[in-house]
Symmetry: C2
Subunit: 444 residues, 2 copies
């Protein structure tokens, strides 16, 4: 035995999202040492990123340091670092400058924005997977209103006040609803030259309806809510080009159309994080077209019973459908893997992972949502309250959930002006907006 | 008269800091139109930046959108933009893409970090003037603890756990105190391989004592408080070189010394913002060696009675001493200028600006401070309460100061874990820290 190393079973978890963190927590009484590795030092409550992007919440409202969450779990430690390789034969995870050995490995590095090979669009149309994505999106949105306020030319002013959201899934719908509300309510009295409530918000989707994965009845309900808020959903529209001044789209009949818009937001899709390619290379794991890893029924990697994949990175089929990339599925996978590791330590046979669909929710604006809990389908404020409840229940790392709820309520009521900061080095002032103003001299 | 323009007197204010914002607010009943121009969309409560830098507060706690603060002041509007030039003959302020005409101009663009010609130090030793400075500093500090946790080599671990603060003025003292407290208290149980409370915090100053501008008795008091918190103040030390691994310093006897430290924080000095050079070029204004503008007794520019300079950008002498670059001075100048403009509109003669020194305060840690109100000089918790009171009184843009106070109190009591996020694109994981861990295989 080498000095400084015990002979405890080493469980290494890569990724501190819903899957990885819940796996770590579920191992708290297990006779193992848990090492959680993440590039970032915090767990991010991704389902609320759109609220940061629209200035309703601050980054610190939806993120919590991993180290803090796990501080009382004595069998867990946290390493901040980027995994750059894997040696499955020697059971080592490689970091930039060193390695960590494992007996069991859980890989849960999640998903990232997918621009379908058009990565140059990223700078023009920020997506929504990280805190930086959200603050960049917020900066784009707020700077557009600032640009419109400065702009003297009416046509160019319209471009500043046009917002295109690409992708009508839950993220796109939630973004559109939140954006409509800040334009119509929050910012209403803040400007002098423009009326923010006249902002055009277009929600583009290539499919037949928004929320394509939801029952059609709820899609219709969501569309009605959106239209009521001033959002214009446009289905059957495919984005072909994104420029600084707008987007070229192709309609279903093949015609092309130009939409002038200074702000384009990306909610069209995600793909598995880059680690899946390292995994494929080192273990021969098979990836689907989104880069997710095909796993065994017990979420282990074919041929590697000591390696598990959980969360968005895992491709799991159930009843002929793929388990969706949502937080509840990731949490369930994380917990399942933790139990599975303990079963193996006790010599018990592997089980089969079953995703229990507890329903889907999409929020549209402040007091409306559509919910889908199996046979139950409903909308409006009831669905919104359900959303609030579900989010509070799933909050992790917030020692006092009630307190967080109160703070959020307060921010919601006051429309939290202080979350509307344009920050970040990458953010530029709206230089393009032309100001030409000749005031009359006053006699002094 | 051109269409769309009234013949109201146009007051243009450049800069939304303490001076500019207070000038704008003090003009709320004046028969003028106020245009406030700032590169950023928010007012920043700079005296609390060090709390963001050390993870006690979040950026949104100390910043408030200018547009929000002025939303009810109907004679004021806000333009987000960067002033790139000035045409004093035509009375025009030039933005990147256009111009705004003025009858009266107030320039209050403040100060920025001064690296005394060694701008390459900026990346290695972040200063503390902007929100991005503060989050960068926070990321440096927290990443250093992360690096130490990962590092296997004891000597290199010490480098990660050594923090050098350059400059023993109020900013350096406040930073050192806050840093000592997060190391000794906040982070205490968060790590497994290191003891954060063993962090070495060195406060370097080239002068004889910390807080050189304060009475000597308070400097001594501050030094004792700092030492009690575990900070090591080192005076008579001049920084010669800053590298990724530490600093070369020169002692008073001429000897050189190497201090190994992964984190170097800059609190050594500020200079007037770049706009003063444009001002000098276009109006012949004289600048001091820090770039601040020499102004008339009424804060107007020599030869340009319609142009005022206020805040850190103005060089004002009073009783043989320069008025210091502190928030109360900037607020007083801003308000003075607003009254002066109204007096000119009424044909009244200019007055002389007098700075009323209401005292100085420097906070050391959570419950200690040194205060200096003319004859009154005191330290300890009383000074800290005075500090709290003064800051609450001067808070601007927070509609409910009591609410803010309560929120802060809550964050202070709970040590606000959620402010400890390492964010920003520029931030890297501590790649340099070597991890070499070989766990023992468990039988599975």
């Amino acid at each position: 035995m080498e000095p400084g190393h015990s002979c405890t079973t080493e469980v290494v978890i890569v990724g501190g999202g819903f899957a990885g963190l819940h796996a770590a927590r579920a191992l708290r009484h297990a006779p193992v040492r848990v090492t959680l590795i993440d590039r970032r030092n915090f767990h991010l409550f991704q389902p609320l990123l759109y609220q940061v992007a629209t200035g309703a919440l601050s980054p610190s409202d939806i993120a919590s340091p991993l180290r803090r969450i796990l501080r009382k779990q004595k069998n867990a430690r946290v390493f901040m670092g980027e995994v750059v390789g894997l040696n499955p034969r020697e059971r080592k995870v490689l970091l930039e400058n060193g390695f960590v050995s494992y007996d069991y490995l859980v890989i849960a590095t999640g998903a990232e924005n997918d621009y379908f090979g058009r990565n140059e669009w990223q700078a023009r149309a920020p997506g929504l997977k990280t805190i930086e994505d959200a603050t960049a999106m917020r900066a784009h949105i707020l700077a557009a209103f600032e640009g419109a306020e400065r702009e003297s030319d009416p046509e160019r002013q319209t471009e500043w006040l046009t917002f295109v959201i690409v992708g009508g899934g839950p993220t796109g719908v939630e973004l559109a609803g939140a954006l409509a509300e800040i334009a119509r309510k929050t910012l209403r009295n803040d400007f002098r030259n423009i009326q923010p409530e006249r902002a055009r918000i277009l929600l583009l989707d290539a499919g037949d309806r928004v929320l394509g994965a939801y029952p059609e009845e709820l899609s219709r309900k969501a569309e009605r809510h959106l239209i009521g808020l001033g959002v214009r959903p446009r289905c059957g529209v495919r984005v072909q080009e994104i420029t600084d001044r707008g987007v070229w789209v192709q309609l279903r009949d093949g015609r092309r159309e130009w939409i002038g818009a200074r702000t384009v937001l990306w909610a069209a899709g995600v793909r598995a994080s880059g680690l899946s390619h390292i995994l494929a290379e080192e273990t021969g794991a098979q990836l689907d077209r989104r880069g997710a890893v095909y796993v065994n029924e017990d979420l282990s990697l074919p041929g590697y019973p000591e390696i598990f994949v959980a969360g968005d990175l895992a491709h799991v089929e159930q009843d002929g459908r793929q388990v969706p990339g949502v937080a509840p599925a990731a949490i369930q996978m994380g917990r399942f893997v933790a139990v599975e590791i303990q079963r193996r330590l006790r010599g018990q046979p592997p089980r089969r992972f079953r995703y229990r669909d507890k329903g889907s929710l999409a929020v549209i604006g402040r007091h409306a949502a559509v919910a889908w809990f199996g046979p139950l389908r409903f909308g409006g404020i009831l669905a919104w309250l359900a959303w609030l409840f579900v989010h509070i229940v799933y909050l992790i790392g917030y020692q006092n959930r009630l307190l967080v709820l109160l703070q959020w309520a307060l921010k919601y009521i006051t429309f939290n002006p202080r979350a509307r900061l344009i920050t970040g080095e990458a953010v530029d002032v709206p230089k393009e907006a032309r100001v030409e103003e000749t005031g009359m001299r006053a006699s002094s």
